[in-house]
């Protein structure tokens, strides 16, 4: 390359100036878009925190709701422990159902299926992901609740249907990131496909799978509609038995916000704050787990 005329470096001409302006402009737009997203998140968190923080207390987390309709003893401290317990049970069960299925679907699609099957399953997952939650709630209502009544199992099943495409999709994506050279390396020593997948490919994806699972948990932890159909007619008090309908945080928020009592509204805000905090810590925890497992893989203890 000729380096004869370097004066161009000192004397910016018009075209260079125009490019610089365009560059700055694009940078600014991108920055603004990011700022708007952060701004709205900030507004939501702040308004929820402002309205709900005053209600947050130890009792709020540990005492159950009283019966609605004013039949409960007056001035008794009440909380939402029943809703937290129910959400914990239902989301936990849903994760236990959706996670293994989602991972198996992803393994099949990415490691074994033909190209045609792969795109067909991918499309199915996208459609399932696009089905409104209320439709899934209604589907589970017809499938389970009509015959067996409401239960945490039915609610968990509905949430699992929502989680399944999220878990499967994110696992497919991380599996696709594992380089083929690793699969070839494993196959070349004479390992069968399933050993290659379980022993070499899957451990590479633990971080991504956990992150995807956490996002799915965060998504369904706030789902209300499917639970209205499947687990909303609840007994008072804190219960853990999944064969009966259990109160959940989003359904509690929904009901409390409909109440005539302003104290109930404040409780709804506080429950929303707890939900947001849970999602925040779950995401942070997932990240921590992901980096830890990645470092562990890199250090290769297993």
């Amino acid at each position: 390359m000729r380096t004869g005329d370097l004066s161009v470096l000192q004397r910016p001409n018009d075209r260079l100036r125009r490019r610089r302006v365009a560059n700055r402009g694009m940078e600014l737009l991108a920055w603004l878009a990011a700022a708007v997203a952060v701004f709205f998140l900030g507004v939501v968190v702040w308004s929820v925190a402002q309205r709900g923080a005053s209600q947050l207390s130890f009792d709020f987390l540990t005492k159950p709701q009283q019966a609605s309709g004013g039949f409960g003893p007056l001035n008794v401290k009440q909380g939402l422990a029943n809703a937290f317990a129910g959400s914990f049970v239902i989301v936990g069960l849903a994760t236990a159902m959706a996670l293994p299925f989602g991972i198996l679907i992803a393994i099949y699609v990415n490691e074994f299926a033909s190209r045609l099957v792969r795109s067909a399953v991918g499309l199915t997952l996208d459609v399932l992901n696009g089905v409104p939650a209320i439709v899934i709630g209604f589907f589970v209502f017809g499938l389970i609740v009509v015959a067996h009544g409401q239960s945490a199992y039915a609610g968990a099943f509905a949430l699992a249907v929502i989680m399944l495409p999220l878990v499967a999709r994110s696992t497919i994506e991380v599996l696709a990131l594992v380089p083929d050279s690793l699969r070839e390396a494993a196959l070349a020593v004479g390992a069968p496909r399933w050993r290659t997948t379980l022993g070499i490919v899957l451990p590479q994806t633990i971080g991504g799978v956990l992150t995807g699972a956490t996002l799915a948990v965060a998504r369904v932890a706030g789902e209300t509609a499917p639970l209205l159909f499947t687990s909303s007619l609840v007994a008072t008090g804190t219960h853990w038995n999944p064969s009966q309908a259990l109160q959940t945080v989003p359904v509690a928020i929904f009901e409390l916000s409909d109440s005539a009592d302003p104290a109930d509204h404040a409780r709804a805000w506080a429950a929303a704050l707890v939900l947001i905090l849970f999602i925040l810590f779950a995401s942070l925890g997932a990240r921590w787990l992901a980096t830890r497992s990645r470092r562990k893989i890199a250090r290769a203890a297993g």
Binding site: S114, R115, P179, D180, S181, L182, R183, E184, A185, A186, L187, A188, V189, G190, A191, P192, R193, R195, G199, I200, P203, Q204, I297, A298, R299, A300, A301, G302
Partner: protein, 291 residues
């Protein structure tokens, strides 16, 4: 690969020198007396509708190093990946012809590719160690194949054979990814030979390595061929001249409508290929007039 690009004239003289040095080792017995490991007949390999390789017929022999040389795109890699069914992973891949391995056609549909690869190991162009410890890289295959007795001795033996033991014996638990490129490639060789295959295929094993690491790997081939048979793809002619007993020259043929495919031009003892090739195209290639 700049160190391998030299002037044509000096390149050919270097090769001849390498061949002469090489020939001091041992004369090859006549081919009829050698034991065939591979007998390949009319192998044609097709990706989608594009033939990558047409009508290749050649043999590879026990305890010899067989090199496959040729310009980029001549189907060398496709060829060697046919020998352990690695192309099965490519959805659009098809092949015709037979590849007899000790008399058994391994290209046949009813042959289990996993069993084939268990006998015929492979080392790849880019070192691809598992993201596990050095020890586990070698031990994983052993565990999968149920060779769990004397695991640590087997690992040590493989690493010693791959001339890596002294460098890693104090840090077997360290990640394989902490090794240098040349060490990683030797680890991959250790991983391949740990499971005691019959043949080791090498697809340009030194193309991403510096000359010293390359030399180490070539030295390994010399030492290991008493135990294994090797088929090695290389685009470095000096390397073929240094390590190979037999050399196959592949080149690109062009059809009337501009289609291109790889073809076997000439296959003979390495000395013959580099000093007295019978095909003009081979001569042009090894003297640096082409490719």
């Amino acid at each position: 690969m700049s160190q391998m690009k030299e002037e044509p004239v000096s390149a050919s003289s270097t090769i001849e020198h390498a061949v002469r040095v090489e020939m001091k080792r041992q004369p090859l017995p006549p081919r009829e007396r050698l034991e065939q490991v591979f007998d390949i007949q009319d192998l044609t390999a097709i990706y989608g509708s594009k033939p990558a390789l047409k009508n290749v017929s050649m043999q590879a022999y026990k305890n010899l190093v067989t090199a496959v040389i040729g310009p980029s795109g001549c189907g060398k890699s496709t060829f060697i990946r046919c020998l352990n069914r690695m192309n099965d992973l490519v959805p659009s891949f098809r092949q015709t012809g037979t590849i007899r391995y000790h008399g058994q056609d391994i290209a046949a549909k009813d042959v289990d590719p996993v069993a084939v690869r268990r006998m015929i190991g492979m080392v790849f162009q880019r070192a691809n160690p598992f993201p596990k410890s050095i020890h586990d890289n070698v031990a994983w295959g052993l565990k999968v194949l149920g060779m769990k007795d004397n695991l640590s001795e087997r690992v040590e033996r493989a690493l010693t054979q791959a001339a890596l033991w002294d460098e890693v014996k104090d840090r077997l638990k360290a990640s394989a990814l902490s090794l240098s490129g040349g060490q990683q490639q030797r680890l991959c060789i250790a991983r391949a030979i740990a499971v005691e295959p019959d043949v080791v295929l090498m697809d340009e094993p030194a193309s991403a390595l510096d000359p010293i690491a390359t030399q180490a790997i070539e030295q390994l081939l010399h030492e290991l061929k008493t135990e294994y048979s090797f088929v090695i793809v290389t685009h470095n002619m000096q390397q073929a001249a240094r390590v190979a007993d037999m050399t196959a020259f592949f080149s690109i043929s062009r059809g009337e409508e501009g289609e291109r495919w790889g073809e076997l031009i000439e296959y003979d003892a390495t000395e013959k290929i580099f000093t007295a090739p019978s095909d003009k195209r081979t001569e042009d290639y090894v003297t640096g007039r082409f490719g």
